[in-house]
Symmetry: C2
Amino acid sequence: MLTYALDQRGDLSLYEYLYRCIRDDILGGKIAEGEKMPSKRAFAKNLGVSTITVESAYAQLTAEGYLRAVPRSGYYAASIGSAGPVMRDPGAGEGTVPGTGQERRGESAGRTAQTAAAAAAAAPPAIDLASGRPGPELFPFALWARLMREVLSLRQEELMAGMPGIGALPLREALARYLLEYQGMRTDPDQIVIGAGTEYLYGMLILLLGQERLYALEDPGYRKISMVYGSHGIKTAYIPVREDGVDIGALRLSGADILHISPSHQFPTGVTTPIGRRRELLAWAQEKEERYIIEDDYDGEFRLSGRPIPSLWSIDRADRVIYMNTFTKSLASTIRISYMVLPAPLAARLRENLWFYACTVSAFEQYTLAAFIERGYFDKHINRMRNEYRQRRDVLLEALRRELPRNKVRVHNENAGLHFLLEVETQMSEEEMTRRAAAEGVRILGLSAYLHGYGAEPGSRVMVVNYSGLGDAQCREAAKALRRAWMPGE
Amino acid sequence: MLTYALDQRGDLSLYEYLYRCIRDDILGGKIAEGEKMPSKRAFAKNLGVSTITVESAYAQLTAEGYLRAVPRSGYYAASIGSAGPVMRDPGAGEGTVPGTGQERRGESAGRTAQTAAAAAAAAPPAIDLASGRPGPELFPFALWARLMREVLSLRQEELMAGMPGIGALPLREALARYLLEYQGMRTDPDQIVIGAGTEYLYGMLILLLGQERLYALEDPGYRKISMVYGSHGIKTAYIPVREDGVDIGALRLSGADILHISPSHQFPTGVTTPIGRRRELLAWAQEKEERYIIEDDYDGEFRLSGRPIPSLWSIDRADRVIYMNTFTKSLASTIRISYMVLPAPLAARLRENLWFYACTVSAFEQYTLAAFIERGYFDKHINRMRNEYRQRRDVLLEALRRELPRNKVRVHNENAGLHFLLEVETQMSEEEMTRRAAAEGVRILGLSAYLHGYGAEPGSRVMVVNYSGLGDAQCREAAKALRRAWMPGE
């Protein structure tokens, strides 16, 4: 079997080093086109590393087009053509894997796409369509600083007085009022749990709902969710996402009792689950004791046209839905405040079994955020961001229409959230499209990069476009680069 | 078997309700003195609640003197004498259990001790010697607000740029320099992991070191630690703490491979593990692959006289010690910033296996704390607090010496941390001492309340005195109340 001397990796992480070794062997021809790669498990065992390390390396190599994933078969070295190397990482920083928060929520330093050629000859600035970090210029620094100062001078006693494990009451009250007014959700502040990021809350839910249970996740989906469950040693099943939401037949077959979904705006497909399927899902949840749906509304505020979709939580009459949302998209990814709304019986169970966990968010920021919401600033801020993002999206769509031939391109699900799908009629594979875009300075991934299975359905060429961090000039530049990459003859 | 209709508990939590039912039945004579209580497991099964609920209720009742724990036998209804009820909780707030952060680190609203008699007749203000919340008046609000403002106006780009999962580099660098200068610990910023509180870091260590392993904890010890492990379904063993630290024979017999201890200042005994035992512990850790010691230095800054004790981490030559510390004691319990220093190989494993976890602490507070440390304010603040606490301790010790007969009282381990032990020569049991103190308006617990086993060694009368939240007047009042409670004839 293929093997590498991992002790020669110097400062690199195992994942990073393995990724480089395989990439270099493909580029150097030591691994030939079409050659089958070892299975993840066997390779991991052989190298003495964890399966997740090999999986991460394979996922990255697949996303960059070095490997091809074949459903129910495995990974194969892809055709790399004569263009040579494609993406080079600029250093030994933290690795990125498609579909993790580093792309979707922009929570890490990330790594910019750079071609070897470009690096050699004064690279054009890389444009990142694979990462959904909100624009930092939109954060209301002055206002936040003013509110923080106010809190620090006027509420000293409350700030020091200790705090319930589920979070400061003023913030939970502000959220309850906000959820009622803007989402029609009638909650009690005691059902709301504040935590430092959604991953932390996922972990808390695992402790609350049980570590021995089978959790169903969306496929394609947000990879970080599956990694968090994996790190807790949780058994998971992947349920295909169709045009009308998760496949309920597959869900039943899986035997799972807990379903983790994003019905308002699925990532990465952008699918909004219609009301019929929502009712079916609620009915599924009620069929058995202790079945629950985790409704992850990670970018629910960013529906850019039409009315907001009522949450599953708000139409659940049987206490089976846990609603989850975060301020990492709507405020800043480096402010770690998320929350969940539990059905009343689960809130009681949390008080009973996990009451000794202190809240993970600083009281200072909870009080500041409470004031920010209470005084209407949050609503104004969201409106401002929505307008700004709508404008960015329109500039990008307009540029794509101008640059790419209309009969070869279709845009899907552009009205919710901060990404849309771009379907392209081409003979290239998604991997090749990613690779050629990278050679033109644009980082973009296809739907298949977010699949937990072995690859995309044959024939589909659907790319995921995240635009929230782009300026107007970058939008136009991106469209031009994609034309050069994908339509060289046009 | 004893049973209660838990569906009639209204707004109360199961634990709270169960606690009240049993208490009322003891007060009302329905449970007679000396009657044996059902085992925790059987009782939980019978009531349909979790064992931890019964355990929490028993622990609280034992701490308050309603139950007596008998080693290797079980719980018995205690003699409640003719004094009648002892402590009454003022409402249906969050429950408290002895030895949790609510006492030691003051992380929750807590519940003030109040006697029925006192409640009836204009109660004197309750004095809490069972809780170690730092004095809120010591937090440097103005300085913190200034630094926060500066960070928010000058470092906007960095604040928004994303952050490694282990925390913002400036804070990790500041900590590395601080640890070198004040603790002689030579660390690399990449070995430091920032997290929102020590419980969060315990959870992360469980994911890193393995969920299937046996963790050894100190007995008596900080109850919250055992609860956190319990909530993750982790197997634990309890190791007795002797005058020279954990019993190494018992540790070997337990078969545990991970040891969680506080060698600088054990809670609640106050024991400082001497160098000989430290070396033995390190030797134990090196005997086998993947053995680790978690060194929980929760109040290491508060050694009030003598030189600081070198950490276990700093004398470990084999990468087997994980050092952990927190700012909840040294700054404020409602700022959720803790950190751990990993041996380099474990830091690499964290990068490898858990890199997708975003840091749980807000970037704003990390940068503010970095500036606070870098510019020397943290060191000054700690000195100020140390002086303040030393003075509070001296006032309290002086008052105790004045009020209590010298030949009947001895003070132990008063030079480190924010609590000391008070050994009293008396015929009363610790439970009775707690109860009588409560009747005089003072909340105080004996060592046995922190035991994970079934009770204190027979004959010991050692009370744990936390003084960090007390003013001078309260210190004097506490001493007088304890004389009335414990030495009624004197």
